[in-house]
Symmetry: C2
Subunit: 316 residues, 2 copies
Amino acid sequence: MTVVGVDLGGTNLRVAAVEGGAIVRRQRIVLGEARGVDAVVAAIAELVAEVAGDAAVVPVGVGVAAMLADRRGTVVNAPNLGWRDVAFGAALAARLGARHPLGVYNDVNAIAFGELGAGAGRGARDLLAVFVGTGIGAGVIASGALVEGASNCAGELGHVKVAAGGGAARCGCGADGCVEAYAGGAALQARIRRELAAGASPAVLALAGAVDAAHPGHVDALADDDPWARALWDECGAYLALAIGNALTILNSDRLVLGGGVLGRAPRLRARLVAGLPAVAPAAIMRPLTIVDAALGDDAGLIGAALLAGAGVSLI
Amino acid sequence: MTVVGVDLGGTNLRVAAVEGGAIVRRQRIVLGEARGVDAVVAAIAELVAEVAGDAAVVPVGVGVAAMLADRRGTVVNAPNLGWRDVAFGAALAARLGARHPLGVYNDVNAIAFGELGAGAGRGARDLLAVFVGTGIGAGVIASGALVEGASNCAGELGHVKVAAGGGAARCGCGADGCVEAYAGGAALQARIRRELAAGASPAVLALAGAVDAAHPGHVDALADDDPWARALWDECGAYLALAIGNALTILNSDRLVLGGGVLGRAPRLRARLVAGLPAVAPAAIMRPLTIVDAALGDDAGLIGAALLAGAGVSLI
């Protein structure tokens, strides 16, 4: 069976035909200024027609970088697209018509399902996928099924609270103490540059070349040697372990998939996260758990959205 | 359809025939000294035969107060029964035979499923049930299905970490900082008596009559007036809100069911827990959430185990 996956990010619109968990045809356009829902719906429909092939019914799954309100593709907020309260799913379903049963999914949920079906999660039954990039997101699979939650907001791991009280860091979401406010890439980079500008570590600054060029990779490179870098990574690794270990304690997953740009270029932060889990999650939770790196890269969302629609999950 | 539910606790063995979510016949014996697995299996088989009626196939679901190792009823540890590493499910399945397809479930999971099907969770799709009694346990339903986890240990909310570092309270499980070590009934009662013995609150002590008679209900009665009681309940309510709010942030439940002996006789602690949730869980998580009290009391586990077996969940 051919299924089409769509990855609707902030910069690119990517569409792929998926067969047996592998991409067989793909298209991609750069989203320009025309980011209104009508223009995006038209562009998706055009690319879907190009890749879909000639089967009588070709399901379409869309992974979108958005906060969703429901399982009908209603977008509460998609900052990268400038959308607020948009009935995207209904508009796209009307445009695609009966030949293309449609599902709209949170992008991280689609990525998690892609890793489950065709990547680092193959063979797992209960999976937690955590991506530490600019922000922190997660997708949850229980008994082989995606956990979408009542309003399609499950897996908001970035906004799990790891600190409280007056000293807790302010998150981009407006709340205090979210793990993303400590260990998300945007917060990390801002803190690194702020502390380097204040003279925290001449060694890391020398490696970065300039305050404004410093990023988590520079901290990671010296995290075993430089006292400031070591302390920062110890702190952030412990916060990540706390948030993830507590989630595992609720979920009892057999597979933890780790990914995202920050963890990808910060192996010493990843190591601290992993080393910190057993102090958070009980032995009975750690025992069945295998920890792996995400394997599908940018294709995970495309493949996962296609697999979800192909499995008939939350079709509109 | 008739299904049989079994509640295997530490003191009583209760068995009931369930039809349409309601108990139609029940039996109960007090477990005496004969708590070996063979004696318990024989007792269950006897009571099942008494209540099962005469249908050709009558599924049996057992909820057991135990840490399970798998979905085949292998018990890692059941402190109240004195069992360690016992193949209870296999022994009971062999005894019951083909007429009685068998499922063995964690007791709190069975209770959560009972509340979903016939109690305070009716109509919910994504449910978190939290019981604060001697310990703290939880059951999770996602998309209408029980989340058992890879080794049947999902919902270990009592061992979510809410504090770290040298000052974190030691839990009965051996770890530090578990929410159960702060807000579970056993830990609470020990702390209340210890602090009252040290002179913390003459008013609460007077209400209790004696240090050894003091319990969380006495603290609750004065939690709006007595400074020590108020501070203790503020602290414990915040810890419960942190653990539960973070779990909801992962799960995006539409129903939170609260129960257990401590919350039942401590309405002011329950109120602090509920009031603390919005500072922990994002608005998008709180919006679809309804908070209710458990409705089925001691029958929830019996009914839930029966409904799980009737739905064919993890039959051995």
